[in-house]
Symmetry: C2
Subunit: 112 residues, 2 copies
């Protein structure tokens, strides 16, 4: 059984250009045999952001704690704990955290 706590996984800078105060942890990946989709955890700190971008794969997102703002197309929505989001492929989207608490969410993507 592959079982861990998030504190055992290193936090890496989100390297999408223009990202600020945004970390990613790769929790479940092909490295442990998960060949269909990957589980990642994001931490966006106060005044952090991941700028508008798009790609041809979808996101399945679950808000773990804190609050944040998620944008898609031209719309922004405030999100908090226990909200979930489906972002279809090829939709421009972005994230920002204007609040004091860390905005923490899972974001899962398919392997293609």
């Amino acid at each position: 059984m592959y079982i861990k706590h998030v504190r055992e996984v290193k936090e890496e800078e989100v390297n999408y250009e223009g990202s600020i105060n945004a970390k990613i942890q790769w929790l479940i990946t092909k490295d442990v045999g998960a060949n269909h989709f990957a589980m990642r955890r994001f931490i966006i700190k106060k005044d952090g952001k991941i700028p508008k971008h798009q790609h041809d794969w979808e996101h399945e997102i679950y808000m773990l704690s804190g609050r944040g703002v998620v944008g898609i197309d031209e719309e922004e929505v405030e999100v908090d704990k226990d909200m979930f989001i489906y972002i279809p492929p090829n939709k421009p989207h972005w994230f920002r955290n204007p609040y004091n608490e860390d905005c923490i969410f899972l974001c899962l993507i398919p392997y293609k």
Copy 2:
């Protein structure tokens, strides 16, 4: 954008035979266009369980709150908040909650 709160999604009984005090919410599915994998949320109440079973698809699990016991093959491990688990295809596994708090976790599965 498809965005909801878990309180908007009905809780259904887990219908795997022998399950007790176990609920499932289907959060993100093919119904909203998610064709690669589905996001479900489980709530196992005090003394609840999902008995030992197996299938040819994997699980990616993230513990949201409470505590529980997850079994795989012949081994049991106690899990709590912010632990995550990869259960490979065809591995016998089960869940039980001997504690007072609800054991709540996400469990994602591929569409095959």
